[in-house]
Symmetry: C2
Subunit: 242 residues, 2 copies
């Protein structure tokens, strides 16, 4: 890694959301970054970039990351970039692709989690789509959480290097993202997640171990870490937890 100026992260203020997957990678890398979501004027700075007609490669939506003259949107693309820069993914191509494949599957799970409370439209309030949310959340609890966590369990068990990491024998952004997703599911669906995690002990163990990586432990204890809330992707509505 060459010496560089601080990264700049742009995301919605007041919630961990998808921005948190980027924060965790930056923290695990020990990379300097400015988190505009936690700076005065951060929201305006984000909106200005989203709407800047002079940008040749504008992001579609937050989060996005500035790395020098590069502006990168889409969480998985940001992590592909950071993983390569900071040793948070294998250097060889096959491993890098596998790590990315896992991340894309986590992204699918995250999108489905969001849609449990917003199955009709992101632009509407939860209160305006409660019956639809109740039906979608039931399928999510009964079928989707077990299917996704079951796949993570399977690939951890099948890892020739052992179940300590998702990709080979080393830490990767996939480990970090799975940790965050498990944390989010535990917050949003405490009962359904507890049931699923009892069946997926490698997943539970990996999530617990990531919280103890020294840089991650320091981050989690810092004010930089934001709590889950009713504004984010992972929301706790008891009626959706069955």
């Amino acid at each position: 890694m060459t010496q560089q100026s601080a990264y700049e992260l742009f995301y919605w203020p007041g919630l961990p959301g998808r921005g948190e997957f980027v924060r965790l990678a930056l923290e695990a890398a020990g990379a300097p970054y400015i988190d505009h979501a936690q700076q005065p004027g951060g929201m305006a700075a984000m909106q200005a970039l989203l709407e800047d007609p002079a940008l040749p490669r504008p992001p579609f939506a937050p989060p996005f990351l500035r790395d020098g003259r590069l502006l990168i949107g889409q969480t998985a693309a940001i992590l592909l970039h950071l993983g390569q820069r900071h040793g948070l993914a294998p250097a060889e191509e096959e491993g890098r692709l596998w790590c990315h494949q896992i991340q894309l599957t986590i992204a699918d799970l995250v999108a489905e989690t969001h849609d449990t409370h917003h199955p009709v439209a992101s632009a509407l309030y939860y209160e305006d789509q409660k019956p639809e949310a109740a039906r979608r959340a039931k399928d999510f609890r009964d079928n989707r959480i077990p299917k996704f966590l079951g796949w993570f369990e399977r690939i951890l068990a099948a890892n020739p290097a052992g179940p300590a990491h998702l990709v080979g024998h080393a830490r990767s952004y996939a480990d970090l993202s799975l940790f965050q997703t498990v944390e989010g599911l535990r917050y949003a669906f405490p009962r359904a997640s507890a049931r699923a995690l009892q069946q997926t002990p490698h997943v539970a163990a990996l999530a617990a171990s990531v919280a103890e990586w020294p840089r991650i432990a320091a981050y989690l204890a810092s004010p930089r870490r934001q709590p889950f809330s009713q504004n984010g992707i992972f929301r706790h509505y008891p009626e959706l937890d069955g």
Copy 2:
């Protein structure tokens, strides 16, 4: 590109679906491939791989692609791989990342399209979620189609190399995927798509031009190209088109 044996594509038979994004890249590359979805026993071959306990890196879901000893799942990851192998993405890192970022945004649009007819659960029939589908489709028509197509229009207009391609001055898998998505939206939402495409002439022009790339034109005229139907992601239910 080194000489290699044929790729093998595994996907659901009888529908273009997400497999079609992979097919289009393989066809544009002129790469030899076996499409198991169109072979006898293809479904069983796909299921066997999905459930094979000996695979160290099993895919989560179709489509997936075999390239020698590599088995790759997640459409965007497959395209990342093929794009690099076959010159369907820039060779330099920034352009490759931008191409991937566009693909991930297309993937989000494709997932949202699917959820217009399955807003509650993929495992249920459309007929079991019609009221929810009606509400979701309205938001999709009024807000999401214009927002996504508007972003593609914006990045085509902002491309310093001109609006003929999404990434620089060359053909990429992003062009192919946008073509397929526009085709799918036109099938599923003819009225809403026509309205949105009137506002996004660069998108309409790019889609029309991709259909004339010689290898794509040959493919579209061949029996290898499957029509859209009521079994896929892009389904035409007139009541959802408003």
